[in-house]
């Protein structure tokens, strides 16, 4: 009973935070430096890890599907499979998961410590809405950076797959053939769908992590608890939402 209540409270305060942040959207042009700083934090610091993981996800995808396809002799279509999986599913999903672990946790920790330290109260007494300067620039920055990160993730994943296909004995597909199959199947619409997904995930991760950070009460112990809660909530939300967003996007497609 209590846990249902706290979930509902969490949803409520997240929605309120969303409305509050959006209501200040007009001030964004005056918050350029905060926006740019957040773009840097979100984009630049996540980029290396996104690159490395995307490379290996693309590789292992090629390896696994190459292994299953060799019985049917359909290796030449591997590029299509890797390409489409990366673009529609694994790219956005992985970027979102890394965002939750790398950026979301940091947002919650920072905002929770500001809350515990009464810095948030100080902002309120100064008539500066915390949503305006702490949350809005981050939301804007994540919307800006998610497409970039996703496209990079896709490209690196494709490339990883191509390398594996060329150098694995039982696959032996030349990059040219690999990318031909990829181009044949992956449409621009698929890329856009993937980016839409990434935008939704990224926005939700930042919003939820901010909200959990700002509702922290108590002392240092609660900061740790808040970070854990934020990351777990983000991951659950990403995976659950993924199903529904995919369904929605496929419905629009057909």
């Amino acid at each position: 009973m209590n846990s249902i209540r706290s979930v509902l409270e969490g949803v409520g305060s997240t929605l309120i935070l969303f409305m509050r942040s959006i209501s200040h959207v007009g001030t964004l042009s005056r918050q350029k430096s905060r926006f740019i700083e957040q773009c840097y934090v979100i984009g630049y610091t996540t980029l290396p890890i996104v690159g490395i993981l995307s490379f290996f996800v693309g590789s292992v995808l090629a390896l696994q599907s190459g292994y299953s396809m060799q019985d049917f002799g359909t290796q030449q279509f591997i590029g299509a499979l890797v390409g489409l999986s990366m673009v529609r599913e694994l790219g956005p999903m992985m970027v979102a998961i890394l965002l939750a672990g790398r950026v979301g946790s940091a947002i919650t920790a920072e905002l929770a410590s500001m809350k515990v330290n009464q810095e948030v109260d100080a902002l309120v007494t100064m008539n500066i809405p915390p949503a305006k300067i702490l949350v809005l620039p981050r939301l804007a920055a994540v919307l800006m950076m998610m497409p970039v990160l996703t496209v990079i993730s896709n490209l690196v994943g494709w490339f990883g797959g191509a390398l594996v296909c060329k150098y694995t004995g039982f696959i032996s597909v030349e990059p040219q053939q690999y990318f031909q199959a990829l181009r044949h199947v992956v449409k621009f619409k698929d890329v856009i769908d993937g980016i839409c997904k990434a935008e939704i995930f990224g926005f939700i991760v930042v919003l939820v992590c901010s909200s959990i950070g700002l509702s922290t009460r108590g002392g240092p112990r609660e900061i740790g608890a808040a970070v854990t809660k934020a990351v777990v909530s983000s991951l659950v939300l990403i995976l659950v939402l993924d199903y529904f967003v995919t369904k929605l996007l496929l419905a629009i497609l057909s």
Binding site: S113, M114, N117, Q118, A122, V124, T125, N127, I128
Partner: protein, 269 residues
């Protein structure tokens, strides 16, 4: 520094304020089952220095948070110039500042930016004007050398002074201090006392100070109140504290150290 402090008053660009009156009426507040304030009422006149004393945990900070609108009363109301402190009108038009007990400085910003944030966010002047104003406020509390430092690099006394100067750049009409001299050495405490009194004298800021500090109450208060068990058990001039008739007041203000009959043994059987 204090000659500079008092002489520079005229040249300093802070406005003289229209001081505001505070009226707290039948305020009650509980947290879970804990009844912190019980039907609490108090009037503070414009330009007055009111010192609120009371044991730890008696609800002094909670009261300040109600006055500045950080906390919603369960019942009762805080009126600023006759209007509800939580109303839009008061939030927009009356400048109030709270000097938090722990400072609540923005740890990610330098001292300078801590002070400038309010002015920048509310677009109160060009960057040059803001810089002048911030440096003025810092100089007033001899903090000009700390401008580029981060809060973590400051001593306890400096943090308190930065917190006060951050409140000052808001040019508040109502200034609330939460235990401004706790954790400070006697000289720093005396300095803070002088700052509080001078600010009131020069800018007519209505001032409410929460403190356990008897010297502070005696030296700068116009009136003193003692909060205990959710209500004021005493209110009067600093003189009235010298020979209190109420036993609770004298026990609180002048506790006797009795080694033959220690207090903690009464609490821990």
């Amino acid at each position: 520094m204090f000659t500079q402090f008092s002489n520079s008053g005229e040249s300093v660009g802070f406005r003289e304020n229209k001081a505001v009156g505070v009226s707290i009426e039948h305020l009650s507040k509980s947290f879970n089952k804990l009844n912190v304030l019980k039907d609490f009422s108090l009037k503070v006149a414009p330009g007055e220095i009111f010192v609120l004393m009371g044991p730890s945990g008696s609800g002094k900070s909670v009261l300040l948070r109600h006055i500045i609108g950080l906390e919603m009363p369960d019942s009762g109301v805080v009126l600023i110039n006759g209007k509800d402190a939580l109303s839009e009108d008061i939030r927009e038009h009356v400048r109030m500042a709270l000097v938090f007990q722990a400072g609540a400085l923005f740890n990610s910003l330098t001292v300078f930016d801590n002070l400038a944030l309010y002015l920048r966010e509310h677009r109160l002047g060009t960057e040059k004007q803001i810089k002048d104003k911030v440096m003025q406020a810092l100089t007033l509390l001899s903090l000009e050398d700390a401008a580029k430092k981060y809060p973590s690099e400051l001593s306890g006394g400096m943090k308190k002074r930065v917190a006060i100067s951050r409140a000052l750049v808001m040019e508040p009409q109502l200034l609330l201090y939460d235990e401004p001299t706790s954790e400070l050495d006697p000289v720093s405490s005396a300095m803070i006392d002088e700052i509080i009194a001078t600010l009131r004298d020069q800018y007519r800021v209505t001032t409410i100070v929460v403190s356990h500090d008897r010297d502070l109450a005696m030296s700068i208060a116009d009136r003193v109140g003692i909060l205990m068990n959710g209500n004021l058990i005493h209110i009067g001039t600093p003189e009235s504290l010298k020979n209190p008739t109420d036993k609770r007041v004298s026990d609180f203000l002048y506790p006797k150290v009795d080694l033959n009959n220690p207090r903690f043994k009464k609490i821990i059987p």
